[in-house]
Symmetry: C2
Subunit: 112 residues, 2 copies
């Protein structure tokens, strides 16, 4: 059996302006939800001072989260989904949305 | 560099009564937050019909999530934290809280 896929992205050399404040991070997270065609149930964010954001969107049967470290130009994203993504499409989308140059993907099949 | 640890647990043969409804799942998630000594910022849950729950607690700089499939006696849990956990202590705690008999752990160092 398998209940779904948990995809984890470590994103390096991000554009700091894209990961410093809730407004931009929220836009990015919602773009990714739209791309995965999942349904958002609820979203919550926390702004760190002076910069840095933690955000989670609860999805139908899954979730997407982001944690950012602007001072390291780094963002950690994960999505749990019942269906498999188009990995390279998602990678390219994340790189574009965060103005990043390097991404490391870890796809884990859950409940195997 | 490393920004933290992302620990993923696949939990098998759970007691269905522990993973069917929000009330019990919320207790479990909050017990785990207490154990990891992290600080909850916000929590949200979704109840599926007839049974099954998705829950996420936004933590300071991190998150914990759970997704349950009572019909498969399965639960998927993950915690992102800045500090390393005591793996076996957490495993035993999850097994006990969910009345489960088998757990698979995947510890991922993020931002390496």
């Amino acid at each position: 059996m398998s209940v779904g896929y948990h995809c984890i992205w470590d994103v390096y050399d991000c554009d700091e302006s894209k990961i410093s404040f809730i407004k931009e991070v929220q836009l990015t997270l919602n773009e990714l939800v739209k791309e995965t065609q999942l349904t958002a149930v609820n979203e919550s964010y926390k702004q760190f001072s002076p910069v840095g954001v933690t955000g989670v969107i609860l999805l139908e049967e899954s979730h997407i989260s982001i944690h950012t470290w602007p001072e390291k130009k780094f963002a950690a994203i994960d999505v749990f989904s019942c269906k498999r993504f188009d990995d390279s499409k998602m990678e390219n989308m994340i790189l574009k949305l965060l103005g990043a140059s390097k991404i490391k993907t870890n796809m884990i099949k859950r409940g195997v």
